[in-house]
């Protein structure tokens, strides 16, 4: 059940390219690819974000675990997508593969529908790289 993927330098670079093209270029503030232990695997931002990504990842892993436990209570295996809406900034979580999560932080300039579409595309591309 415990799980960490060993990434090569090339894999990380390819994943960074995907995240840059699909999400950062679209206008999102920052993206974090992380594992459920709370480790940050890849972090990219648009140059204006100054988030404490390590704390964010630790809390996101905990949050995802807690929500998965809620899913189990109502008979679901998990909720593979979470969204927290803020006044200016919002966070979108999506599962990539078992134990890997993609966190996207974006503002009101990006529509949720379009973001979800692009996240889905990015995830599909990342899945072929790992």
């Amino acid at each position: 059940m415990d799980f960490t993927i060993d990434f090569t330098k090339e894999q990380i670079e390819s994943i960074e390219d995907v995240l840059q093209q699909e999400l950062i270029d679209l206008g999102v503030q920052s993206v974090i690819l992380m594992d459920l232990a709370g480790n940050v695997i890849v972090n990219l931002d648009n140059g204006h974000a100054n988030h404490d990504v390590f704390s964010l990842a630790a809390l996101a892993a905990g949050n995802y675990g807690a929500v998965s436990a809620m899913a189990n209570i109502i008979g679901e295996q998990e909720f593979s997508l979470l969204f927290h809406k803020g006044e200016k900034e919002s966070i979108h979580f999506s599962k990539v593969v078992e134990d890997l999560l993609l966190l996207t932080i974006f503002n009101r300039d990006v529509s949720l529908g379009f973001l979800r579409l692009k996240v889905a595309e990015a995830i599909k591309r990342i899945q072929t790289l790992i």
Binding site: D2, A37, G38, N39, D52, F54, S55, A58, L59
Partner: protein, 201 residues
């Protein structure tokens, strides 16, 4: 399992402070946060209930410099000690690289220490980890209570109860005074990092 980023040459190491409720796990982290403030770039994160007990975890990240050309990022976590929070406690153990077991030296807490250690063993098993194979350091906390006339367990008793088979390095400590808090942390970091050395070749 620590996460190694070959591009940034960075290693993220997860160390979890485990032990019974009100044993001083959060106090350990708070002391470290104060004492090593210069090295700690981010604020300590803590998810508490209204009663000021750790609900989910505390989280304290800091850098310890380079080993074999890799910068080492240590991430300290505590678990909620209260029995009823086992689900969140188990979540925090996911991907753990090293453990500090903070035992409460108070006479009254003898049984709770033993139960918490047993719970640690079971929760590690849920992640296919064996308590005998993971870097582990014991801290017998609250030794200062003896000065106030509060009955505490002797180190021999604690050793016999908790560490007779594990044989882990141990420290008598007082998290509130800071006695052996840094020593405990340095020991677990040394053990954990040395277990990673092979991977960093």
């Amino acid at each position: 399992m620590a996460l190694i980023n070959p591009k940034k040459r960075e290693v993220q190491v997860k160390i979890v402070y485990y032990g019974p409720g009100r044993g001083g796990k959060t106090t350990n982290l708070e002391y470290i946060n104060r004492k090593f403030k210069k090295r700690i770039l981010n604020e300590m994160v803590t998810v508490k209930t209204y009663g000021d007990r750790t609900l989910f975890f505390d989280f304290l990240p800091f850098d310890i410099g380079e080993i074999k050309g890799h910068s080492i990022k240590i991430q300290l976590y505590t678990v909620p000690g209260q029995v009823k929070y086992n689900a969140t406690r188990r979540l925090v153990l996911r991907g753990v690289d090293g453990i500090v077991f903070v035992a409460d030296s108070m006479d009254l807490r003898r049984e709770m220490n033993i139960r918490s250690l047993q719970n640690l063993k079971e929760n590690l098993e849920a992640f296919n980890k064996n308590i005998f194979n993971i870097p582990l350091v014991m801290q017998y906390n609250k030794r200062d209570l003896a000065d106030e006339g509060i009955p505490i367990l002797s180190e021999e008793t604690l050793q016999k109860d908790l560490n007779s088979r594990l044989n882990a390095p141990y420290f008598p400590g007082s998290a509130i005074r800071g006695d052996n808090v840094a020593a405990t942390m340095k020991k677990i970091i040394a053990l954990t990092v040395s277990s990673l050395r092979k991977k960093l070749q």
